[in-house]
């Protein structure tokens, strides 16, 4: 797919950092030894656990063990020692799992040019460093469709972490998906200000249920909103992993990472010596190992599932859900008729489509 589609912002950043062309490819000087740095606890129920569940699949495909360190927060003083203790033991492929590792990984990649660095949701790239993230709007759009179909009140909720591009695009995608079944559907967003704050997530989800919202979507790292949905006998849709594990009755579907689909081929390329890190980072969709839809709860009717799966096929074939004409909540035109959003526009997204009710 369009892995090398230009992210103009990242391109500017890459150029100012002095990284020019490195199409020559990257070759390890020894057989690969691969290690993970996990942002949170490996059993966090969401983001980090998704990596820990991809790990055995990668281990099987590459026939080697992948050690890891848990709870490496987004601070240079904690990331550097964790990475260096692996590097000093001969590890030459380090996989990070947080946006906040970006700067430190850039520094480390320059200090250790013979080590390959990969970083999920990072923003930095280089001759031996590639950030990667998924086109999460695709799967969240499909979950939004199911939410729109299942809601009786037409009022959907969305518990989100921070108002940044990759979160804003999931919110917009959710609303656009819901409109496929219910053109009048609204999505009310609450930002918790944290990726992992079960207390605030609970309060937010409960406030939503009190307001008559009957399907709660989410882009936070814990399954708390789903658990609240189950307690309040309403529905929800999950993110990061299949959250039916926590709320089998409430969770209609989840937008779940398929990291092994992206990491196995990438790591094989690194091992074979023909890895060419993209200067703009890897950005796979459903097709190549971003997030896919884990579907569906027993209460979702078959015809709804069929329509969602048809949309999934269309997305795999190249459908871009952010295609103009598209206006924001203030009526300003964001995409002209027929224009598809580019990756720079996605990462910078700081606007919401009509129907989204957000604090910002």
């Amino acid at each position: 797919m369009q892995l090398k589609k230009i992210i103009p912002l990242a391109a500017v950043a890459a150029m100012t950092c002095g990284a020019v062309a490195y199409a020559a490819g990257f070759t390890l000087s020894a057989p690969p030894k691969i290690a993970f740095l996990y942002f949170a606890d490996k059993g966090d129920g969401g983001w980090t656990q998704a990596f820990d569940e991809a790990r055995p699949k990668i281990e099987k495909a590459l026939n080697m063990k992948l050690p890891f360190v848990e709870n490496v927060p987004e601070v240079a003083g904690k990331i550097t020692p964790a990475a260096e203790s692996f590097i000093n033991r001969g590890y030459n492929v380090i996989i990070g799992t947080a946006f906040g590792y970006s700067d430190t990984f850039k520094t480390l990649a320059e200090k250790y040019p013979k080590v390959a660095f990969l970083n999920a949701s990072g923003t930095t790239n280089g001759a031996n460093l590639e950030s990667f993230y998924g086109r999460t709007y695709e799967s969240q759009y499909l979950c939004g469709m199911i939410a729109g179909a299942m809601s009786k009140t037409g009022k959907l909720g969305f518990v989100a972490a921070h108002p940044i591009g990759p979160v804003n695009w999931t919110i917009n995608a959710y609303e656009l998906g819901a409109q496929q079944f219910n053109p009048k559907a609204t999505v009310t967003v609450i930002f918790t200000g944290s990726w992992n704050d079960p207390v605030k997530e609970r309060a937010a989800a409960q406030a939503m249920a009190d307001q008559g919202i009957d399907v709660i979507g989410q882009h936070v790292d814990t399954p708390t909103p789903q658990i609240v949905a189950q307690e309040r006998k309403i529905f929800g849709t999950g993110h990061h992993r299949d959250l039916r594990e926590f709320a089998p009755k409430a969770t209609l579907c989840s937008s779940a990472w398929t990291w092994d689909k992206h990491l196995i081929p990438t790591l094989k390329k690194i091992a074979a010596g023909n890895w060419e890190p993209s200067p703009y980072g890897a950005f796979p969709g459903i097709k190549d190992g971003g997030t896919d839809i884990a579907c569906c709860g027993a209460s979702v009717p078959k015809d709804v599932v069929a329509k969602v799966m048809a949309e999934r096929d269309a997305i795999i074939k190249g459908k871009q859900i952010f295609t103009g004409p598209m206006k924001d909540t203030t009526g300003k035109e964001r995409l002209a008729a027929g224009v598809k959003i580019d990756d720079g526009g996605l990462w910078k997204m700081d606007w919401y489509v009509p129907g989204v009710i957000a604090q910002k």
Binding site: L9, A10, V12, A13, T16, A35, D41, P67, F68, V69, E70, N71, V72, P73, E74, V75, A76, G77, K78, T80, P81, A82, E84, S85, F86, N88, R89, F99, G100, S102, D103, T123, H162, P163, I164, G165, G193, W347, K348, D350
Partner: protein, 363 residues
């Protein structure tokens, strides 16, 4: 039916094996204190090694690995970590000495980082003096955030424990407000400021030492002189041991309190400055996370003595780096690492008991 007769054993004498008594010690010489401290540390390590042995890690293997840890990278990382830990330890111990329970360390660090970044953004001062100005601004930022509480406490009798703790959240949301708004790096659209220029960074000065550590050492020396040798330090000891008498004989309690609390905030502000200017290179969301706990712990273990704070701050940093290494080498769970860290901290803390008390067994 006959009730079986049970023969009660004779009650044991309460003093059959003698008694254990506690006496308060007066002044234990420093070398004896060090022996107690070292002994407790050894006991903590032995317990940890036994637990690790049960987890399948042989002590010999462990020693080999830990010897391998003492390389240049680990030392550098340990020293980098130690600088902010020492500064927050100082901040906490200064305030605790006069009974001002400053739990707002993180908020003061955030304001230190914010003020330093403001100097960078507004480009105040020539490049050669920029780092100095950022440091001064950071100290003022930390001071500002703690003096708000002092004002609340002296004017309105607001409890400073609650006020400092809760103002951490206000500081955090103010930081978020800047990072998601006016100060957001336009190039990445993520919550972080634009990177500092090269002359706004605290760099390595050789021997695996970062300039941030110099800030911490300067802080230790100034605080040490202040507490042990200055007139204000004498007043401070007077106030903490007998506030009533201090007032009667005319010690300027309010002035001393003001400056000590301000100095506490300044140390925390500088800790924030060291983190953003040496490690992060820009203002980020989480550079102050977790330092309230570390600061209070270090001040407690060091019994509020600045020189000891430097030693304890370094040891806590060693403990952290070693803990991470254990995870890397043996893939033991993070919770186990936390447990071992807790065992060692409790062991060291309990040495305090034996330093203060003489335990005697009287037969």
């Amino acid at each position: 039916m006959a009730t079986p007769v049970t023969v009660e054993p004779a009650p044991a004498s309460p003093h059959r094996f003698g008694r254990i008594t506690l006496d308060m010690r007066q002044n234990l010489p420093p070398w004896k204190q060090a022996v107690f401290l070292g002994g407790s540390l050894a006991i903590g390590l032995v317990i940890s090694i036994v637990i690790l042995a049960f987890a399948g890690i042989s002590p010999g293997e462990l020693a080999g690995e830990l010897a391998g840890v003492a390389n240049a990278d680990s030392l550098r990382n340990t020293l980098v970590q130690a600088a902010p830990l020492i500064l927050v330890g100082l901040g906490a111990s200064l305030a605790f000495r006069i009974g001002f329970w400053n739990l707002g360390i993180e908020g003061q660090m955030m304001f230190g980082g914010i003020f330093a970044t403001a100097v960078s953004i507004a480009e105040i001062g020539p490049p050669s003096l920029r780092l100095l100005f950022m440091g001064i601004a950071a100290a003022l930022g930390g001071m500002f955030w703690v003096l708000v509480v002092l004002l609340l406490k002296t004017r309105f009798r607001v409890n400073e424990i609650i006020a400092t703790l809760l103002l951490n959240y206000v500081a955090m949301y103010f930081l978020f407000h800047l990072l998601y708004g006016a100060w957001q790096d336009a190039r990445s659209a993520f919550p972080q400021s634009t990177p500092y220029k090269p002359f706004e960074r605290l760099n390595d000065i050789g021997f695996n030492v970062n300039a941030g550590l110099l800030v911490a050492i300067a802080g230790v020396l100034v605080a040490g002189w202040f507490i042990h040798m200055s007139r204000a330090g004498f007043y401070m000891r007077f106030i903490s041991s007998n506030p009533g008498m201090a007032k009667v004989v005319g010690v300027p309690i309010q002035t001393v309190t003001f400056w000590i609390v301000a100095a506490s905030g300044a140390c925390c502000g500088l800790a924030g400055y060291v983190n953003v200017a040496s490690q992060e290179g820009r203002l980020t969301q989480s550079f102050a996370d977790g330092y309230v706990f570390s600061g209070v712990l270090i001040a407690f273990l060091a019994r509020n003595d600045p020189i000891v704070v430097a030693v304890v701050g370094f040891l806590i940093s060693v403990l952290f780096i070693t803990g991470q290494q254990l995870q890397v080498f043996y893939q033991i769970p993070f919770t186990m690492v936390q447990m071992i860290e807790a065992i060692i901290v409790i062991a060291v803390a309990s040495s305090e008991f034996f330093i203060r008390h003489r335990v005697r067994w009287i037969r």
